[in-house]
């Protein structure tokens, strides 16, 4: 039975505690003597601080301390940027934990209050008087890059954080010789990740020992430990980071945050545990946002529709400061993917990273790849329309042919394996594409506007070879680790450095161990999230936990199996070469009835009464797995929409997808990840947008204004798959966490444009509110 656990849709072991309220999040933890912190945040997008009067707040009931930048001068180093993009003129602006002279976005922290209760802390915020001189502000990235725009940082010209380029092939020649050139302006609006659990930190510093424990809602506790030691000066060996249950991240919990370090300072100074938990309004204002690109894109093609070149200029809003991993998102994870699923011989992109008076922008599910996929997939549709072909046919014409061990693209990447036409074929069949086209034609005759939108994609994930990480300026490694430890009773602990927070690896990793070693998954406990009892790892983001951590685990399992085989041979008085293994049983070839089980071996290895000579006691293996390449999942998605031309309302009627993440460890979990990903991508197309007004105020600052997707607005998502192994992963698997988001935004966009094609509508800014769609229709009517 256990040998078949790989591929079984067993239930997630995480769910009973999550759905019964038994899970423990950072905010659930209460320590004796604990105090509560609250952050006073700037109400201005850009202002000079003349003075701060905290005397009244200090006298308020329950208040223990109020700190401003002046009070903690020299105690915290500036916030680190940990992706130092090379060859891009990167300028890292000074990013203090507490603003001293200037605030640069609504949400910048100017003071912290610590009180006996959370209510007292928040009440005292109102008693601090800050005298500000407002300064001109700018939140649009392209505007911020213009001459004469308000300047955010004294030593940074043109608000330019970096200018990064990628180039391959002769782009100028491609455009000079093109039969057809397509141009489009695409705005990837600013999005708010909206994890269910807002950010939180509980710091407990013990003055007697100089030791810090920080409970923190993070996707990567080991990175937090490393960077915390850089910022706070508390050394790594005296710092323990615990990520308890983490209620979603979507990229917003990769970064380290000023409020976390301020909470540490408060505990260190006061000698008591201090907890800080964001309100939802604070989360919207000050936890990192995503996307925020203005893209000018051009595509060159022959009149038959063969793509010959792609050229783009992108202004990427970074917000007021560079968040932890921010510079790598709109560059490495974006520009290098511009070939998409196609053989495009010539590609050039300029990306301008621009400081703006907005919340720092970071990774958000897909992180750079949705923005790249959108550019390519949108223009392919426009090309198809221009040359009068079906978008599916233009895709087929340009697809990279199936390959199973490496394919180079113009941006310099080597994709691992792919069968893009296979995914599209399956999508055509499962969706009944040809019939849908007929229905669309029929509907048009009766004045109904139905649209079909394709999104075919390949993404880069499983980050990645550490040597590459170093070459692209990532200030860390990108390997993962896994320890498997057998106990005398045959039960197993797995310790991993990655930090799942909803993706289900407690279940799938147990399935891997089960399949490799023949134990029941119920006998495998997966431990993660505590830097004091897990091996180092770089965290859970970029769909890398299974792609890299899963590989480490598989290699550890195989080491265990090799050692167990030696012990079994000894116990069965046979030569190791004569041993066979099947489903947790070791036996001499041809004598399967006389076997030692993995549990027998675990007991012997732990008591060590009769071990082979030179073999250590214990049955445990540890692996640090550094992948030889990234992995490249892919797929093809179809959205079917109907637009009400009278009101501009868009209804998503069907959503069909085919994803290929290699062999699936647990198809139910894959399906869940696809669902969540698709929904977040649809959210960008139809509902979500973080809007700043002309003064830099976030006017979509609550869940009454910022529309996240809701179940009743979505159709049943039809999930299918193909299986193409990664040639270099020990299990052949890729990643699936972000795939849905990468494909779905552009699929829905293309569908709406397809629906409105008879009306002459060509471009509508996202999200597609009824008013925007209606206006586009009205304007097209006038034209």
């Amino acid at each position: 039975m256990s040998g078949r656990m790989f591929g079984s849709a067993i239930r997630r072991r995480e769910d009973p505690r999550l759905i019964t309220g038994a899970a423990q999040y950072t905010d659930d933890i209460v320590l004796p003597g604990m105090l509560y912190a609250a952050m006073l945040r700037s109400p201005y997008a850009h202002a000079r601080i003349n003075s701060i009067d905290k005397s009244e707040a200090e006298q308020a009931s329950g208040v223990v301390a109020v700190y401003t930048a002046a009070d903690i001068e020299g105690e915290l180093n500036p916030m680190p940027c940990a992706w130092l993009l090379p060859n891009a003129g990167l300028t890292v602006a000074d990013y203090p934990c507490l603003a001293k002279d200037i605030v640069r976005y609504v949400g910048d922290i100017v003071a912290v209050v610590v009180a006996e209760t959370r209510y007292q802390a928040y009440d005292a915020l109102d008693l601090i008087t800050v005298d500000y001189d407002p300064l001109p502000s700018v939140t649009d990235p392209q505007e911020a890059a213009k001459e004469g725009a308000p300047k955010l940082h004294e030593n940074i010209e043109g608000n330019q954080a970096f200018h990064w380029t990628v180039s391959g092939g002769d782009v100028d020649a491609a455009f000079a010789n093109a039969d057809v050139v397509i141009r489009d302006r695409i705005v990837q609006q600013r999005l708010i990740p909206t994890a269910m659990e807002t950010r939180a930190a509980l710091a407990h510093y013990i003055q007697a020992s100089g030791e810090l424990t920080l409970w923190n809602t993070t996707q990567n506790p080991h990175i937090v430990r490393f960077l915390s030691s850089v910022v706070t000066g508390i050394p790594e060996d005296k710092t323990r980071i615990i990520a308890p249950e983490v209620g979603g991240g979507f990229g917003s919990k990769i970064a380290v945050y000023p409020a976390d370090f301020l909470t540490i300072v408060c505990s260190k100074r006061l000698g008591r545990p201090v907890k800080w938990t964001e309100t939802r309004s604070e989360n919207y204002q000050a936890t990192t946002h995503g996307r925020n690109h203005v893209q000018d894109v051009e595509l060159a093609a022959t009149k038959e529709g063969k793509i010959t070149g792609l050229r783009a200029k992108v202004w990427s809003g970074m917000g007021a400061y560079l968040s932890t991993a921010a510079p790598g998102i709109p560059t490495i994870l974006h520009g290098l993917m511009l070939s998409g699923v196609y053989d495009i011989p010539a590609i050039h992109e300029d990306v301008y990273g621009v400081y703006t008076n907005g919340t720092p922008v970071e990774a958000y599910r897909g992180a750079g790849r949705p923005e790249a996929t959108f550019m390519v997939e949108r223009l392919v549709d426009v090309l198809a329309k221009k040359i009068g072909k079906d978008p599916a046919d233009v895709r087929r014409l340009n697809f990279i042919p199936p390959f199973d061990n490496g394919h180079d693209v113009a941006t310099g990447l080597t994709y691992d394996s792919g069968n893009y036409v296979g995914a599209l074929d399956k999508l055509m069949e499962k969706s009944g594409y040809a019939d849908l086209r007929k229905e669309q034609q029929e509907a048009r005759k009766s004045g109904r506007y139905i649209g079909l939108g394709l999104g075919t994609y390949v993404e880069i994930c499983g980050l990645g070879p550490s040597q590459v990480a170093g070459a692209i300026g990532f200030q860390g490694g990108l390997w993962e680790s896994a320890i498997i430890r057998f106990h005398p009773s045959g039960k197993v602990h797995v310790f991993i450095g990655a930090s799942p927070h909803g993706q289900g690896e407690e279940t799938t990793f147990a399935q891997i161990v089960s399949s490799e070693l023949g134990v029941s998954p119920d006998d495998v406990k997966v431990v993660h999230g505590d830097t004091d009892n897990t091996p180092m790892g770089w965290g859970t983001y970029g769909s890398r936990t299974t792609a890299v951590g899963g590989a480490a685990l598989a290699v550890s399992a195989r080491k265990i199996r090799d050692k167990a085989k030696v012990i079994a041979a000894h116990l069965l008085e046979a030569a190791v070469e004569d041993m066979d293994y099947e489903d947790g049983r070791f036996f001499v070839k041809g004598s399967p009835d006389n076997a030692k089980t993995i549990q027998d071996i675990a007991l012997m290895a732990n008591v060590a009464w009769n071990m082979p000579e030179g073999v250590e006691a214990g049955l445990e293996a540890s692996t640090f797995y550094d992948p030889p390449n990234f992995v490249y999942p892919f797929g093809a998605h179809l959205a079917v929409v109907e637009v009400d031309a009278a009101t501009g309302e868009v209804e998503l009627k069907r959503y069909v997808c085919v994803d290929d993440c290699g062999p699936q460890i647990n198809p139910m979990i894959v399906e869940g990840q696809v669902h969540g990903g698709v929904v977040q991508g649809v959210g960008q197309a139809l509902w979500e947008e973080a809007v700043y007004d002309e003064d830099g105020q976030l006017v979509t600052g609550t869940m009454l204004d910022y529309a996240i997707p809701r179940a009743d607005r979505l159709p049943n998502i039809e999930v299918h798959s193909t299986v193409t192994r990664s040639p270099h992963h020990p299990l052949g698997v890729k990643g699936i966490g972000e795939a849905g988001t990468i494909a779905s935004t552009v699929a829905v966009y293309n569908a709406v444009m397809d629906a409105l094609a008879p009306l002459g509508v060509e471009n509508i800014p996202m999200p597609f509110t009824p008013e925007r769609v209606w206006r586009a229709i009205e304007q097209a009517k006038e034209a």
């Binding site: 209510y119 009440d123 529309a707 209606w774």
Partner: protein, 288 residues
């Protein structure tokens, strides 16, 4: 955010509510809390005391008394949406209650709180106005009955006087030859009505004898679409007649129109007729 500090008292009866209102200055009544608590959290209101009326039995329940449908102030939206009496006697009210917010809001929010709060984007005020409902209140100077059309005075402004308590709403029972419907364009985040249209039609022998069509979401208080009502009066309820009548929607709306980031006043005004047409078509379909 967090509300400012306040005292909390709980009333057990209507008499106790009156007493608590009389003795607590600067008090607010707390029913389901789904309008009040968000305002408290934003500190847009900072009352000294909240008087919780949530456990006063006489304010709860739905009943048919003679020729009226009575709904107690504490009745939740979910109870209204699923009530057999409401579905039978005032279908559009059940429909509207069923599209307020989300299930959590409908399970806690009450009709009394909703009506007293008088949010212009709320679903119920337009429906109650279309049904010519009466709003029952009691206060220091005794009980009063106010017609819905007079009750909603403007943006979160009502005819409720200081220390008055909304106790119930009453609707005339749907008569033979009458039908109603509610149509709405919901804000995708808040689910409030960007445009909400309630229509109550009465017909005899295929001719419209009375039409009450009320718009919510566009104006500070519910607005009767007078031009639409007049156009329907006495005529057939064919698709053409309905479309022609709906075309009169914008004319009567005036200049004081609501708009926001999601939907401008211009847009709301331009497309309101579509929702009017849909509400009328649905109601007319129910007559058949």
């Amino acid at each position: 955010m967090f509300p400012a500090e306040f005292d909390y008292v709980r009333a057990g009866s209507e008499a106790e509510i009156a007493e608590l209102l009389a003795t607590h200055a600067d008090a607010k009544i707390l029913a389901g809390g789904h309008s009040l608590i968000p305002i408290l959290k934003l500190r847009l209101a900072m009352p000294a005391t909240l008087i919780d009326i949530g456990r006063v039995p006489s304010l709860k329940g739905i009943s048919v008394n003679g020729d009226v449908l009575r709904i107690g102030a504490l009745t939740t939206h979910a109870e209204i949406a699923t009530s057999a009496e409401v579905r039978k006697h005032a279908p559009a009210l059940a429909e509207a209650a069923g599209v307020i917010g989300d299930p959590a809001v409908r399970n806690r929010g009450t009709i009394g709180g909703n009506v007293a709060h008088a949010d212009p984007a709320s679903d119920l005020p337009s429906v109650l106005t279309a049904f010519a409902a009466s709003i029952h209140v009691t206060g220091p100077s005794g009980a009063r009955i106010i017609a819905a059309e007079e009750f909603f005075e403007g943006l979160m402004a009502t005819a409720l006087r200081e220390n008055e308590l909304l106790t119930a709403v009453e609707l005339p029972l749907q008569s033979k030859g009458q039908a109603s419907a509610y149509e709405k364009l919901a804000h995708p985040a808040s689910r409030y009505a960007v445009i909400g249209v309630a229509a109550v039609l009465t017909a005899e022998e295929g001719k419209c004898t009375s039409a009450r069509v009320v718009l919510g979401g566009l104006t500070p208080a519910p607005t009767r679409a007078a031009g639409v009502e007049t156009a329907l009066q006495g005529g057939p309820l064919t698709p053409e007649a309905i479309a022609n009548a709906a075309a009169q929607t914008a004319a009567g709306l005036g200049d004081d129109l609501l708009g926001d980031l999601y939907a401008s006043a211009e847009y709301r005004k331009a497309v309101a007729h579509v929702y009017v047409r849909r509400a009328l078509e649905t109601a007319a379909g129910r007559l058949a």
